[in-house]
């Protein structure tokens, strides 16, 4: 995979100054509270929503959340919050921000 020089510098910067990578590298930030709540910040939109499965686009990869009685508690452009009984949270691809 080709890595652009700009991304490389940003990765370095983030590592060196211990800056939050989601800000510098434009990566999603996931907050999971128990199996009750999942907050995805910096997402790219909802792909699929059923009470048993939620797929959220993260740009290069997809986040697949399974569970039961899943509810979209709120949906903003930057942030999506899912409530319910979470079963699994899976990424379809590696997400390093280096692509």
């Amino acid at each position: 995979m080709r890595v652009s020089p700009a991304k490389k510098i940003r990765t370095r910067l983030a590592d060196t100054f211990e800056l939050p990578k989601d800000v510098l590298l434009d990566l999603p930030r996931l907050t999971i509270i128990g199996t009750l709540q999942l907050v995805v910040e910096n997402h790219r939109g909802l792909i699929e929503y059923t009470p048993a499965r939620v797929r959220i686009s993260l740009g290069a990869a997809e986040l697949v959340v399974t569970g039961t009685d899943l509810v979209i508690s709120s949906a903003y452009e930057e942030e999506i919050m899912i409530l319910g009984h979470l079963g699994s949270v899976e990424f379809t691809r590696e997400l390093t921000g280096g692509e």
């Binding site: 939109g45 909802l46 792909i47 699929e48 929503y49 059923t50 009470p51 509810v71 979209i72 508690s73 709120s74 949906a75 903003y76 452009e77 999506i80």
Partner: protein, 398 residues
């Protein structure tokens, strides 16, 4: 989260359902255009969610783009509730009257509870509290609780402090009672210490007053031990310039006290004992007639008889009682016990000691126990045991 919920309730919100095939896209488009929908749930091809009234009007282009149909399921929140309330004025009025009625009634004292009475009668406090204004049906805000509390403490001598608090319509009066100090000893009154029983004085400790007995002296019950006069001038000592004053005498006078116990044990003891053989008889008593139902022939010469009767409930049933008596006979035999004089003496000492000790008070200190006299004849042994104790015999005359 809570603030958002509360705000949306305040300004009102709509519960809508969205039916279509591109529901995910619908959500994405909403998010992109800044429409906030929350609590989004899905059942098959229908999405339900909540959103504000303003956002609902902006939903139309999105619905058209995604070929979905949007329908309002429910209008919720305060504005809608208010609109409904305005249509039902009487109901709202009734609710307001009810709530304000409850509030109004809660402004009065309906119950008075009195706590903390240990020796005082709560009814007395209740009565005084009523006189001070704290009674059923009085307006709460018209009472000065501190003044009533102080009033209770002032009016009732045994109350050290009284505090009043409201718990709704219940007024709780907390009482702290005064601890009564022991009544002070009378001043200027002479109280002597006298002997409670006969004995020989062993030790005299005077705390207040003047001793009138000495060690080795024999006293009888009621004899003066310590005179209730302080500063008395005794020959060879004392304070000549001090005027003797009457006091309540205090002190300890220990004396030797003797207790005796006497017991006689015969050398030959005849007793009747049950042999273990047993015979039973049943007797029916009807009026004055007695009929032996069972056990005519009594085989024993000497016996113990134990009778147990029962009317079997016939007295109640037939109007006159038929009584059935069960008699248990236990055969007895004479047994003669012979004691040696030594055995008899030991037994007599044991019995006599117990008799003497039973007369000794609990707090007495036993200093000696001795056998005083043994007299023996051909019939038995007689023994006298003496117990010597050391006791404080100083008491106040009754």
């Amino acid at each position: 989260m809570f603030i958002r919920r509360f705000w949306s309730y305040l300004v009102g919100y709509l519960v809508v359902s969205v039916a279509g095939r591109q529901l995910e896209r619908f959500v994405n488009l909403m998010a992109a255009s800044g429409i906030i929908m929350w609590d989004i749930k899905r059942q098959g091809t229908v999405l339900t969610g909540k959103l504000s009234i303003g956002d609902f009007l902006r939903l139309r282009p999105i619905a058209r783009k995604t070929h979905s149909r949007v329908r309002i399921c429910r209008k919720a929140g305060f504005p809608f509730l208010w609109a409904r309330a305005r249509r039902r004025t009487v109901l709202v009025l009734g609710a307001i009257i009810f709530v304000s009625g409850v509030w109004f009634l809660s402004q009065f004292v309906w119950f008075v509870e009195i706590n903390g009475c240990e020796t005082l009668d709560p009814n007395v406090i209740r009565q005084v509290a009523e006189e001070l204004g704290l009674k059923r049906g009085v307006f709460k805000h018209s009472l000065d609780l501190d003044r009533i509390g102080d009033g209770l403490a002032l009016r009732i001598e045994r109350v050290a402090w009284a505090g009043i608090d409201y718990a709704g319509t219940l007024a709780i009066v907390d009482i702290i009672e005064k601890e009564l100090a022991p009544s002070p000893e009378p001043v200027g009154v002479r109280i002597d210490l006298v002997a409670s029983k006969e004995g020989m004085v062993e030790e005299v400790v005077v705390l207040r007053g003047t001793a009138t007995v000495r060690r080795g002296q024999t006293v009888r019950a009621g004899d003066l031990l310590i005179r209730g006069i302080a500063g008395e001038q005794l020959p060879g000592e004392g304070y000549p310039h001090v005027q003797p004053i009457p006091v309540k005498a205090r002190g300890i006078v220990k004396a030797r006290i003797w207790y005796t116990g006497r017991a006689r044990v015969p050398l030959e003891l005849v007793r009747e004992c049950r042999t273990g053989r047993h015979y039973q008889r049943l007797v029916m008593k009807a009026g004055r007639q007695e009929i032996i139902l069972w056990g005519w022939r009594l085989p024993f010469e000497a016996y113990d008889a134990v009778a147990t009767s029962s009317d079997l409930g016939t007295g109640r049933i037939f109007g006159f009682p038929i009584e059935i008596t069960k008699i248990d006979f236990y055969e007895l035999e004479r047994a003669v016990y012979h004691f040696s004089s030594e055995e008899a003496r030991q037994e007599a000492i044991r019995i006599a000691s117990n008799i003497a000790l039973s007369r000794v008070p609990q707090e007495a200190e036993i200093i000696l126990r001795s056998v005083q006299a043994v007299t023996q004849d051909e019939m038995g042994v007689e023994v006298e045991v003496m117990v010597e104790t050391l006791e404080n015999i100083a008491t106040y005359p009754p």
